[in-house]
Subunit: 243 residues, 2 copies
């Protein structure tokens, strides 16, 4: 019997892969509009490179791209102040993120239905990331009131894939490990650690950055694989008989 | 004959005093909406206190207010995570700033007219502040294309009221000190340093944070005082005969 469902946030409840990629493209476009001399394709490849090298949480992506451009193509900035281009990029990036952030279409219908039909099941978000930034996403997505708790790893000082983050969440919600279901998009960060301590696991395919092919050879297998949260209901029924 | 007009940005070309104060009130409102238990008046007084103690550029105003509230009224946060309240405040603050930033009504008409009628006069912004943040304001205000240059003190490493920032700007624009007019809202940061090196000075009254009363006793007097940028035209005519 499942008493707690833990959800990953990024690329599980909303499409951060697409949103980030769209926002970065718009930011680059805006810098070009303000006079940056770089071919869009070259610029975008460089921006993606920087994001993957410095990590998606680094605050200086646009500065690094401009530094890199200056060293490779010394004429690309002309006389335009670097900070003007960064400001233009930040405005565009932020505008795209604020206007376009939205949950996957199955999320709110699922949350409403699980609340109504399974009042005994607690639901929580279990996510990595900078706490204020993660809360900002959750509030902008307008989903905070559906959850019994929101657990952000940097508040605990234990990050995914450390299984102790998962057992912390289970203890906090006062349920058992076998009464818990972890839903996430990543084999490495969500499925492996949860399975290692006997939490039930569901891999969700969202066709985003870390999505793995169904037939791909993997280190570990989740118990269930779904494409939509509505598929969780038969799984909850399936696990009802088990302890 | 004036060949260069230097403009301060904040509270000279747009009302940052009002915008900041409105944005902070909305941010506090939003935290209260998310469950912060504090009387609006008490909370706003505390937020203002923090801004004045830590400076308006400090990135952690909302965190500091919450820390202060917790120590004075231990029950004020209840079980709400601090980062959730900060995220709510940041979203509201940003929304208000983005939607409501606008130049004073006399600014664009002045810029158009000076461009048309005084093509020999260069115009530039001379401002303190974090360069990307200042450019962000200028781009959101949509006034960057009117200016021949935008000089931000932290790019030079010399801040107001150091007169060398003003002589740097004059040298960069290739004019003489007596051919330059500084327009700003602050006696201490704009008028005194400009006068000290023989730049012509205009104090603009915008009824904002640092505005001084016309009859108030002051350390230094500007040559001219105005309430609207349209009043600059007779001043330009007045200074035409002089060297």
């Amino acid at each position: 019997m499942i008493k707690l469902i833990l959800f990953d946030l990024d690329d599980c409840l909303f499409d951060i892969t697409e949103l980030g990629s769209y926002a970065r493209a718009e930011a680059l476009n805006e810098m070009i509009k303000y006079g940056l001399k770089v071919d869009f394709k070259t610029g975008l490849a460089m921006l993606r490179e920087v994001v993957s090298e410095y990590g998606s949480n680094h605050p200086g992506h646009f500065n690094i791209v401009l530094t890199r451009l200056k060293s490779l193509y010394p004429e690309s900035l002309g006389n335009i102040p670097e900070e003007k281009l960064v400001a233009a990029a930040v405005i565009a990036y932020h505008r795209v993120k604020v206007r376009n952030i939205k949950t996957f279409p199955d999320v709110v219908p699922f949350l409403i239905k699980v609340r109504k039909n399974y009042p005994q099941i607690k639901i929580a978000i279990l996510t990595d990331g900078i706490p204020v930034k993660q809360f900002e996403k959750i509030l902008r997505l307008r989903i905070d009131s559906y959850f019994d708790d929101i657990i952000i790893s940097d508040d605990i000082g234990i990050r995914k894939p450390n299984p102790r983050l998962f057992s912390y969440a289970v203890d906090k919600m006062k349920v058992g490990l076998e009464e818990t279901l972890m839903v996430g998009d990543r084999i490495d960060n969500d499925i492996i650690p949860a399975r290692s301590i006997n939490i039930h696991t569901v891999l969700i395919h969202r066709e985003t950055k870390y999505d793995v092919d169904k037939d791909q050879v993997r280190d570990s297998q989740p118990e269930f694989e779904i494409r939509s949260l509505s598929e969780l209901f038969p799984i909850l029924e399936n696990l009802k008989g088990k302890k």
